[in-house]
């Protein structure tokens, strides 16, 4: 049996799939009866989605042109 604090401390690792078999079973057992930790788990999943949302613009055309020029210059004269 693990405590809420122990379960919560490992929730992200659990979601990342980097806890070992014993810890995974202990966490899942804890989640089977602890509503608050299930709430923590749901929120951790939301935070992961929140972080994963695409938030950077595509490569701007002018930046791409300058970087391609760099590449061409690296190769030297044809």
């Amino acid at each position: 049996m693990i405590t809420c604090a122990e379960a919560v401390r490992q929730l992200w690792e659990y979601l990342d799939g980097v806890v070992d078999e014993t810890d995974r079973e202990a966490i899942e057992h804890h989640l089977s009866f602890c509503r608050r930790c299930c709430g923590e788990l749901d929120f951790a999943e939301e935070l992961r989605r929140f972080l994963a949302q695409p938030d950077e613009p595509d490569l701007p055309a002018d930046v791409k042109a300058r970087l391609l020029t760099t590449l061409t210059e690296l190769e030297g004269p044809a």
Binding site: W12, L47, Q53, L67, L71
Partner: protein, 199 residues
């Protein structure tokens, strides 16, 4: 380019690297934006230069994208070091036990909400998330971005950042906690803890 290097070898290296780099540019630029913000273009330029010089020593073409990513990540780190952004891991111990879930529940910023935690996250626009990540020390921001924004596996990140797996797991843990705490601090600072702040 070496003065006595055969022209055919130089041409072959150039075309191979050019094709690789051109293919990877959008991904490299996006990653650099997340790691060093407005310095992204300079970081990618640095990576292209270093990659071109080292390309001849690359044995495995299949590994080329990961190889070039590692070079870019190092260039981004160099930029962070040059600005003295590095922090010691011991400075952040107080963040380790922070739980944003419990903080939101305890403070109850939106008393009429029936989805309190989700409503908290919905207050943040894309610029806010970027700003919160930018506030994190590089030591923790890099693993966090690589893992949760870019989808790298923990082992791959440990390889990219040249640290043992256990160290990487600890940094990710602290990075997540620090991210949670910074989200809350940011929300307080910029008035996001008010009902309908962003609607």
């Amino acid at each position: 380019m070496c003065a006595d290097e055969p022209t055919a070898a130089v041409a072959s290296r150039g075309s191979g690297f050019h094709a690789l780099a051109e293919r990877e540019l959008p991904r490299l630029y996006r990653l650099a934006r997340r790691l060093v913000g407005d310095e992204a273009e300079d970081a990618v330029q640095d990576a292209l230069l270093k990659g071109y010089r080292a390309y001849a020593s690359l044995d495995d073409e299949v590994a080329a994208p990961a190889w070039l990513t590692a070079i870019l990540v190092n260039c981004c780190r160099d930029r962070g070091r040059a600005k003295g952004r590095r922090v010691e891991e011991t400075e952040l111990e107080d963040a380790d036990e922070f739980s944003l879930y419990r903080k939101i529940a305890a403070e109850d910023p939106f008393p009429y909400s029936d989805s309190l935690h989700l409503d908290f996250l919905h207050q943040f626009g894309r610029e806010d998330v970027r700003a919160v990540l930018a506030e994190l020390p590089e030591l923790y921001r890099l693993p966090l971005v690589l893992c949760y924004c870019e989808g790298y596996r923990v082992k791959e990140i440990a390889y990219l950042l040249e640290v043992p797996l256990g160290t990487m797991l600890a940094r990710l843990h602290r990075g997540r906690k620090l991210f949670e705490r910074t989200l809350w601090d940011y929300a307080e600072r910029y008035g996001l803890l008010k009902e309908n702040a962003r609607r």
